[in-house]
């Protein structure tokens, strides 16, 4: 080894500083973000339904995902900066203060709860046609965020169900919107939570004097009762977070239950959250999702559309992205407001 080092030492000595500089560009993270096109994710990989409607499925339903790089290296940032497909910018102080681990957990929670919403919407739509299909769900309030000043930060799990809190004067508060009314700043209150496994636990949580808050964020969700729902389904673990696949998940599940293949043999992609009433909702990263769907050859792309005049409307953004990326044909991008709009469009395609 020494002989080799000795022979190449002049070159090594000349290159060592440029080498270290290049390595610095490749490993040092900067306070910026990059959003890049990801790809299409086959919805069938995230959920399977134990039901055979006795039909072949010729096409496919895919959600689209984007890559979000928090604190890229100099090299990643400059590579992304000069590409029209990517968006990049500086992280705000609030974004820098965010806990990346908690963000990942929230993205996972969003994904799981969006699957429940998709199941509810698709099963309810199909139950109207097939009485054997039964959907049972429960309204629950889940822990959806934790501030750094929350007492028992590590003990309270994101996604755990809020059960109750014993407020001032011994008032048992089970409505999470009333917690502020029955609690006083500077006091400790026993909060009861329930984990996904069904275990209840109670912790004394302080209403912080500095902020006047407990540091807990709650959000209401509808969770499917798997025992009483027919047909059974299995959720699979995937590395994709967030709720933006909701609309496509609902379409996929509906198609599995439907006696007719609604894909018409097409590679159908799309994006948009799904509300419990079937409404398609806003998402982020439209430009990158359009780019991914275009590159991977989607035949149709459903995107939520609620206003022609709002520049932040997802369909308006999608058209603007096509213009920016030089995509001439936009006929494959289909604006929808609801899950039913998607079904109507596919029905209108005929055989």
């Amino acid at each position: 080894m020494n002989e080799l080092l000795e022979k190449h030492w002049p070159a090594i000595r000349a290159l060592i500083l440029p080498y270290l500089f290049i390595f610095f560009l490749l490993v040092y993270p900067i306070d910026y973000y990059v959003t890049a096109p990801g790809g299409l994710s086959d919805v069938g990989k995230s959920i399977s339904i134990d039901f055979d409607a006795g039909k072949p499925i010729a096409g496919s339903f895919s959600s689209t995902y984007v890559i979000y790089v928090r604190k890229p290296t100099f090299f990643e940032f400059f590579a992304a900066y000069f590409s029209p497909y990517n968006d990049s910018g500086q992280l705000t102080p609030a974004q820098l203060a965010e806990d990346p681990v908690q963000n990942e957990q929230i993205a996972y929670l969003d994904h799981v709860t969006s699957l429940d919403a998709s199941i509810i919407v698709a099963y309810e739509a199909m139950a109207a046609l097939n009485p054997a299909i039964r959907i049972v769900y429960e309204d629950k309030v889940l822990v959806y965020g934790k501030a750094s000043y929350l007492s028992h930060y590590a003990d309270i799990g994101l996604g755990d169900e809020f059960v109750s809190v014993l407020g001032d004067g011994g008032e048992l508060v089970i409505d999470y919107t009333q917690i502020g009314t029955f609690t006083t700043v500077g006091n400790l209150y026993p909060f009861t939570f329930r984990t996904a496994a069904g275990t209840e636990y109670t912790l004394e949580v302080l209403k912080q004097p500095q902020t006047g808050k407990f540091g807990l964020t709650f959000a209401p969700f509808r969770l499917v009762n798997e025992e009483e729902t027919y047909p059974k389904f299995t959720q699979h673990s995937v590395d994709i977070g967030g709720p933006s696949g909701g609309l496509m998940q609902a379409l996929y599940i509906y198609n599995v239950l439907s006696p007719v293949d609604i894909t018409r043999g097409l590679k159908i992609a799309g994006t948009g959250t799904i509300g419990y009433d079937g409404t398609a909702g806003d998402i982020g990263g439209v430009k990158q999702k359009i780019a991914a769907a275009y590159v991977y050859g989607a035949d149709l792309f459903f995107v939520d559309h609620h206003s022609d005049t709002n520049v932040y409307d997802d369909y308006v953004e999608a058209l603007a992205a096509c213009e920016e990326l030089g995509i001439q044909d936009t006929s494959w991008i289909i604006p929808v407001q609801t899950f039913q709009d998607c079904l109507d469009y596919l029905e209108g395609l005929g055989d």
């Binding site: 080894m1 080092l5 992304a80 780019a291 991914a292």
Partner: protein
């Protein structure tokens, strides 16, 4: 193959196992340091340009071929520096091992890009 075996036998009789391994380690270390920024840069480009991942993996395949070739090149160059009066044909061994390494890089790269990636990549 016959000549390759003969040259290997000659090499083993001229050099100790420790010398061969020491030369291999030195070559591996230098080649790894030389190619580390290349692989790192390509991995970061895949994150930012996921839509071109197949092309980027093919470029990584080329880099892997070069990496394996360089390991073989420096391995036998190092052995040549240790014993200038050697009898075995180090240039021939370098060519054979370089070609073998490059083929290994090509096979691994193509296997990953066209077989494994479509199976495991979402």
């Amino acid at each position: 193959m016959k000549r390759w075996l003969g040259e290997w036998k000659s090499l083993k009789s001229e050099y100790s196992l420790m010398m061969v391994l020491d030369a291999l380690f030195g070559a591996w270390l230098l080649a790894t340091l030389a190619f580390a920024p290349v692989f790192l840069a390509l991995a970061e480009l895949i994150v930012v340009f996921m839509q071109w991942k197949v092309w980027l993996f093919l470029i990584i395949t080329l880099a892997a071929m070069g990496y394996f070739y360089l390991v073989a090149h420096w391995w036998f160059q190092s052995l040549g520096l240790k014993r200038p009066d050697h009898g075995c044909d180090l240039v021939f061994l370098r060519k054979v091992h370089g070609a073998f390494g490059a083929a290994l890089g090509l096979a691994g790269g193509l296997l990953w890009t066209w077989v494994l990636m479509p199976i495991i990549w979402i």
